[in-house]
Amino acid sequence: MNWIAIKMLVGDRTKYLGIIFGIAFATLLMAQQIAIFAGIMGHTASQITDVRDADIWVMDAKTRFVDEAPALPETDLQRVRGVPGVAWAVKMYKGQVSARLDNGQFRSVILFGIDDNSLVGAPRQMILGNVEDLKLPDAVIVDKAGYEYMWPGQPQQLGRVFEMNDRRAVLVGICKVSPPFITLPVLYTRFSQAEWFVPHDRNLMTYILAKPAPDVPAKDVCQRIEEQTRTEQRQLAAMTQEQFKWKTINYFMSSTGIPVNFGITIALGFIVGIAIAGQTFYLFTVENLKQFGSLKAMGVCNTRILGMIFLQALVVGGIGYSIGVGLTAGFFEATRHVTHLAGLGMYPEIMIGVGVAVLFIVLLASVLSARRVLLLEPAAVFRG
């Protein structure tokens, strides 16, 4: 009987393709939009996750997200280093400055000032140059997308000179980093060098990166840092990398219209899927009502009919979902080298989530359709 169900399904080619198109379109819309949304949300915390060598981020307790950290006095670094369970702690600057290029144009850039000695927080993947070259005078490393933004259409070339805060900066390397939320160039320099590149302020250190001692859980160390560095005037916040990542993502989720915009598009994909696939599948079943009635008259029980309808729904759902996921993957593969779309892609969780949504669509469509068939009296086949 399963074979009959499949033949009935593919026999009506127009509706068969119509349902598949509806589900594929809904899958594409939902999967692509969720993937882009997840990617963009991931970008908001990319500068946190790019730091692989430190597990703990210490900052002012009022910090809401990674781009908004008030500067800390240098004494905080010593206080953190003095907390039991901290293996080491180094300072880091992260901020936004203006760069003046050799052609006179200005570019806003994200500047990281990393520990002079350990270079903790330095980029991991170099395209051109060497991380150790950061120790050279005036040295900076820029990310690939940032290079294309600062010197569009020009070949990758080290030794380029530009200015930040009227101080000379020399490009010693081009690296690959996770794309930031704001598409600005990401520059790395030593902390002592950053003090020259950033307009002078009383304090420059925005974060303290720390590593817990072996066998000491990072969360416990975070708790100790917060407890032992607390004073009546100020308080430090210490978070694991994962905690800080989600704090940042949650800030963007709750403080921007991004989730609403994407949510509407994803909901539209879902509704379009239900509308096209559901309606077409319903029509398909209703048009086959007489055939189903005949089968019932010939001794096919309701359970079997229900099974046939569910099978038809699962087949079109499976094919439509596969096409939709394939198209989504194709989109991300085709745009992999587009700078401003880099870092976006499918995740297994998204595929599973969209799969569940598609399953819901086809099951809803089949339940609505099956209702008509199940309520159909077999005697109706004699009514012409």
Binding site: M1, M8, G11, A379
Partner: protein
């Protein structure tokens, strides 16, 4: 007086026993036996009685014509005989089995095994070939696909459709589609064949051919055939004609000469 009364009671009692005995005997031998069958639709003020105490017997090996004006209850009666509807009152025995005592899956299984259907509009599955369509009852009974299609092909050959096995219904004429429907109705060798207006959608020639087929192929092996029809041109194929009117059996004729009157 009391003695006379007692004798009378005894006679009545003997008579009733005799009648009941005859009825039981008839039920045992008849393919279909309906006793005081009543069917109502709706409830309360909208309740309507469409069958009023139908009594009929259909013996095996006969082609029974069920005729009457539209709305007289023919379709309701065959639906009850086929187990597609339940009688409100009365009993229906098919092959000695009381349908009222069968429920749910048992009734569906009984119907699938013992009754074949030929519909006015053929009701073939458009996506299946002639052979596959004819194989459906066997597939319902759990046969393997290849074996079912092979057996169905043999049956199609018997109804003169052996050369159109792989044709879709859309590639067949009305008469050919009805032949496929007959093959489908007979492929699982049911004991009772119910045909609802089998010639209504066909031209005169095709109608004659289809009825000849039903007559020669279906009425065999003790099988009974019920044909609901308005088509007086095919009356001569019947062995018995049951005429209905307004939910009642008006007449039962067995003399073919009287069928057209």
């Amino acid at each position: 007086m009391q003695t006379i009364q007692a004798l009378g009671d005894a006679c009545d009692s003997d008579f009733e026993e005799s009648v009941i005995g005859n009825q039981q005997s008839a039920m045992e031998t008849a393919m279909v036996s309906c006793r005081a069958v009543t069917k109502e639709f709706g409830t309360g003020d909208t309740r309507i009685e469409v069958l009023h105490g139908i009594d009929i017997e259909i013996p095996p090996g006969e082609l029974v014509l069920l005729v009457g004006p539209s709305g007289c209850g023919k379709t309701t009666l065959i639906s009850i005989i086929a187990g597609l509807l339940d009688a409100t009152k009365g009993t229906v025995h098919v092959l000695g089995e009381e349908l009222g005592a069968l429920h749910g899956a048992n009734k569906v299984r009984f119907r699938g095994k013992n009754i074949g259907f030929v519909f006015q509009q053929y009701n073939l599955l458009p996506a299946l070939t002639a052979a596959e369509n004819a194989a459906v009852p066997l597939l319902v009974a759990g046969w393997k696909r290849n074996e079912a299609v092979a057996k169905a092909s043999e049956m199609l050959d018997r109804v003169g459709m052996g050369n159109r096995l792989k044709n879709l219904p859309s590639q067949l004429s009305g008469g050919q589609q009805q032949r496929v429907a007959i093959a489908r109705a007979l492929v699982h060798e049911p004991k009772l064949l119910i045909c609802d207006e089998p010639t209504a959608a066909l031209d005169a020639h095709s109608g004659q051919t289809v009825m000849e087929l039903i007559r020669t192929v279906a009425v065999q092996d003790g099988r009974a055939v019920i044909v609901v029809t308005h088509d007086s041109r095919v009356f001569h194929f019947g062995d018995r004609m049951i005429t209905m009117g307004d939910g009642r059996v008006d007449s039962v004729k067995t003399d073919r000469a009287e069928f057209s009157h």
